[in-house]
């Protein structure tokens, strides 16, 4: 079974001519990227190329000055992060953003927040329809825990866990939202080889098992070339290449960007 056998569907997210600047700094210039259903798209580029900005545009943290994002047939320029979350986009962060004092299970439960129907007053009560809802949410979380093989730390406060596991918990929280599109910001940064291998396995499994579309930023070229269906390369806020891993590897602009050429 290889990645290439899977069915890649239509475009589910289209970014058209996105430009984003902070004061005089142009972070992104006229970038267009498509994301197709079920694919794993990697965004790579040297430091400061605008990769994280691109993810932040997609899930509505940044609002680009120009261009538009079309997701699920709706075109918009500005959308709030919680709205994108409700529409099935979940993400993880470059620097882990978990609640350190809360248990793994509780952290993953927070991923269900957008799916909870009742307000917090209701949730304080552990009775009736709310109990039923809680059980449903818990079941989803337990499936995520099983999937990521973190049963043994279910009740452990996140702050006590090693870095690699915290990253996995963060992925778990994103998965608990049952996203259609998953944005991963450097999921393997700072991990050792074994942890990276595990994480790759999980990313491929998420993609395979749930059909989740994944956009990830990663620096480890070995990882990127292995697991991605398609790679987009940014450099100084511009897209310089977009294609299969093999094409990108052979692209002269990409080689220049990575090896350094006078601009």
């Amino acid at each position: 079974m290889s990645v290439s056998e899977k069915q890649i569907g239509d475009v589910i997210l289209r970014c058209d001519n996105i430009s984003l600047s902070f004061g005089g700094v142009r972070a992104l210039t006229n970038i267009s990227i498509d994301v197709r259903e079920h694919e794993i798209l990697a965004i790579i580029g040297p430091n400061g190329a605008g990769k994280s900005s691109m993810l932040n545009v997609i899930n509505g943290v940044y609002h680009p000055q120009e261009g538009s994002v079309t997701y699920q047939g709706q075109t918009r320029r500005a959308m709030k992060p919680h709205e994108t979350a409700r529409h099935g986009i979940a993400r993880t962060f470059q620097n882990i953003a978990l609640f350190k004092g809360m248990s793994v299970l509780d952290n993953i439960m927070t991923g269900r927040y957008t799916k909870m129907k009742r307000n917090f007053l209701w949730q304080a009560l552990y009775v009736g329809p709310n109990l039923k809802e809680e059980i449903e949410h818990r079941e989803v979380c337990e499936r995520v825990i099983d999937f990521l093989q973190i049963e043994n730390i279910r009740k452990t406060p996140v702050g006590r866990l090693p870095y690699g596991l915290q990253k996995r918990v963060e992925l778990g929280r994103a998965l608990a939202a049952e996203p259609q599109l998953l944005l991963l910001d450097e999921p393997m940064a700072g991990m050792n080889v074994e942890e990276k291998e595990d994480m790759c396995r999980f990313i491929l499994d998420v993609n395979d098992e749930f059909g989740t579309t994944i956009v990830l930023i990663e620096h480890d070229m070995g990882v990127v070339m292995d697991i991605s269906d398609r790679v987009a390369v940014l450099d100084y806020g511009k897209k310089i290449a977009d294609g299969s891993p093999a094409e990108v590897r052979a692209n002269q602009d990409v080689i220049d960007a990575y090896l350094g050429v006078a601009h």
């Binding site: 056998e5 099983d146 049963e151 279910r154």
Partner: protein, 657 residues
Amino acid sequence: MGWMVRGAPDLSVHDTFPKLMLYHAAVRGAHPAWREKDFGIWQTWNWSEVAQEVRAFAMGLKALGFRRGDRLAIVGDNRPHLYWSMLAAQSLGGVPVPMYQDAVANEMRYVLSHAEVRFAVVEDQEQVDKLLEIKSDCATLDHIIFNDPRGLRNYSQPFLTSFAKVQELGRGEESTHPDFFEDSVAQGKAQDLSVILYTSGTTGQSKGVMLAFSNVIMSAKGAIDFDRLTGDEEVLAYLPMAWVGDHIYSFGESLVAGFCVACPESSNTVMHDLRELGPTFFFAPPRIFENLLTQVMIRMEDAGRIKRSMFHYFMAVAKRCGAAILDGNKQVSLSDRLLYALGRILVYGPLLNVLGFTRIRLAHTAGEAIGPDIFRFYRSLGVNIKQIYGSTEASVFITIQPDGMIKDDTVGVPVPGVELKMADSGEVLFRSPGAFLAYFKNDEGTKATKTDDGWVSTGDAGFLDDDGHLKIIDRAKDVGKLNTGGMFAPKYIENKLKFFPFIKEAVAYGDGRDYVACFLNFDIEAVGNWAERKGLAYSGYNDLACKPEVYSLLADCVDQVNRDLANDPHLSASQVKRFLILHKELDADDGELTRTRKVRRGFIAEKYAELVTALYSGQSHCDIEAQVTFEDGRKGTIKANIAIQDAQIYQPMKKAG
């Protein structure tokens, strides 16, 4: 109590495991039989549900072409479905071959082809991948059945099927052959081969031990009667299914007595699950009990002052009288009994709860010698922990420590039905209803181990003490003789030394010599801690190893061992006369230890030949240069001048009275 009321199965009628399963399903169908923690919740199957699951799976196997006598391999962590696969194979007259789940593909190849396995039931994608890798070399392997479908959706091999699919197939098959299952079960006989268990193969090529239904059932029955187990026990199945211990404790005994077996959520959650479940009967190798105790001690050091002093006070009480109370000893004073009762409320009860031992009635340990301190710790808390002695060839049980007569250094008395005798070489031989049929396809091996009249050699040397308790001292091939004529059992002496927390490794010499002498390695953490408390400055292991203070610390340990040995009529000659502290820690990277941390006595003797010579000469010091391998693979040499110290030898004591 249900067990007592409804009566035990008549084992002359219900003489195979499938028959026993049907018996329990008919007589006590609603009683829980298997549990598994899944998605954070304990799922339970009762006996009648289990019978249905097994039946559906067996019929599915039949539909796939499973014939009487076919071998079915089982690979995976402890899962109810895998245990049921064994029952299903046995129902059809087939033979389950459980395999070690952490074996690499290459190791599996040997067992699969040697046992000519036709069907394999495996846990998940990981195991499927391993089998696919070697499938072309295993000509007989026709079907692979997996339990957990995760990640396997896109595998298109025609010989791959899921457990659920096979059961579905079986339910269809049942409509056309409604009586097949019962007929097939009825054809099974007590003398039939029930399972082939491959030894782990640490000592050469692994051997397939063939056990008949009667072997496993009678051995399990003997242990159940000996320790009065009932159908209401709860046990946790967490040891490898390929190991005979798990096969008897989690499969054989459960089916004979009808008690419930629980499978943990994953191998990482065993200790959590143990706490939640609170088993009534627990089997573990000594290192698990040791780890639990270490965790308790570490956490107690972090506790507040009041708690800590309460803990130490009541642990002292327990040490004084706990074991005696457990053994039903009448001589415990009333004040001690009252204090112990108070301690139970304040300390022992909560502590047992944390360990998951609140409901425990009985614990067994085996595999290697358990440190007397650890052993006494659990007994003093009221946990009836016992050492047993057994082997794969015996369907586990040879001896068990009897209630009320527990000695630290023996493994107890023969289980009813087991006969023991000692060969001239000191090797222990046994004859029992549990004794294996033969090794699979290895007549030579069988002849070397089992005589025609049924005596099986264990490979262990030991003797019976005055009360008829068996004392195992070493592997028979390692036992030697001193020039003075006394028996020399190196491992026995080494274990005695290693039970001191200060001593990490010991290597004893004496075969063909005038006296026993040994190398010692101290435990850098324990001794380092001790040195800090004493205000002794040091830079590392090397430095500590030459300090006279450390020598005198270890000399105390050796002295105690010698006193102990002097009391033992068989071993009083092997007191340690001279010892030295090695200047480096023995390490597997230097080939001095095996990967399982057993000392390689012969290799060490060669490598440090000068030191051995010095031990047997009058020298008080010896220069040595030794090669070491650093963590990164570089090699270097360490030079040292090692002191050799004499220890006091005690006169053998005459037994009083």
